[in-house]
């Protein structure tokens, strides 16, 4: 079970990549792609079910897409966090005991 193809081959200069996994299930392929992404500075886009790809030698693979975690992505995440916190600060605070039903 492995990532068997990275497209493009010169992914080190690319901000998006497609990864093919030969994992036996969608779930295992998702985890495998997540691990590759984490190890190489990428993140997987949010997909429930990966596309199925058949190779020339008739092997079925799972294909997912990842994007590079550029400084722009990090700056945007921080700005989004501040915006959400600012909006939260404008709302009334609810106080409750933790055994309330949620």
């Amino acid at each position: 079970m492995a990532i068997v193809k990275v497209d493009p081959e010169d992914w080190k200069t690319s901000n998006t990549v497609q990864l093919d996994s030969d994992a036996p299930s969608n779930r295992e392929a998702l985890l495998e792609i997540d691990e590759w992404a984490a190890e190489h500075g990428f993140a997987r886009v949010n997909e429930h079910w990966l596309r199925r790809i058949i190779t020339q030698d008739r092997c079925w693979l799972f294909r997912g897409v990842c994007y590079r975690l550029t400084p722009e992505e990090q700056t945007s995440a921080q700005a989004a966090g501040r915006a959400a916190a600012d909006a939260r600060g404008k709302m009334p605070t609810a106080s409750r005991r933790v055994d309330d039903d949620r």
Binding site: R27, L31, D34, N46, A84, A87, P92, T93, D99
Partner: protein
């Protein structure tokens, strides 16, 4: 580059990240929003890989709606709903976790709504974060009996990786 930590945030920790909540826990008051914000920030900044069952979206939306009946303006809640949906949480669909959830319900007496979160955490080999161990009839205590990686915001600070 090291592997990323994996987490599953329960709705009880996502809500205070977006709606201000003060929690009374064992007769102490604490700012649940400040603690929950650290989890949302880690997810947003992709310093962790976050997973959740589909139902997180339904549950978050349900509580967000309730917030609008408790003083939050609809436009503010709508904005927070959009920021929540922008979090890169990988939603895990029902077919991926239903067998595990069923086993948890039937063999470990995990309440059905909670079994989906626990199943998701177990299958993804992830930490499950819940507001407190007393939440929802001590779901946390039951979860700890079958999954070692269960954490409570009332007891643990979420340390950003």
């Amino acid at each position: 580059m090291p592997k990323r930590r994996r987490i599953v945030p329960d709705n009880s920790v996502m809500i205070p990240a977006f709606f201000p909540e003060e929690i009374i826990y064992r007769d102490n008051r604490f700012d649940a929003s400040k603690r929950a914000e650290r989890i949302a920030d880690a997810i947003r900044g992709t310093s962790v890989d976050a997973y959740a069952p589909d139902q997180l979206v339904y549950e978050f939306t349900k509580v967000a709606r309730r917030k609008t009946t408790e003083g939050a303006r609809v436009e503010d809640a709508t904005g927070q709903l959009h920021w929540f949906r922008a979090l890169p949480i990988r939603l895990v669909s029902v077919p991926e976790i239903e067998d595990k959830a069923w086993t948890l319900m039937t063999e470990h007496a995990i309440p059905p709504p909670d079994s989906w979160y626990l199943a998701c955490a177990m299958i993804q080999k992830a930490e499950l974060w819940i507001l407190s161990r007393e939440e929802r009839d001590h779901f946390g205590d039951h979860a700890l009996a079958v999954h070692q990686q269960v954490f409570f915001l009332t007891e643990h600070q979420f340390d950003k990786p």
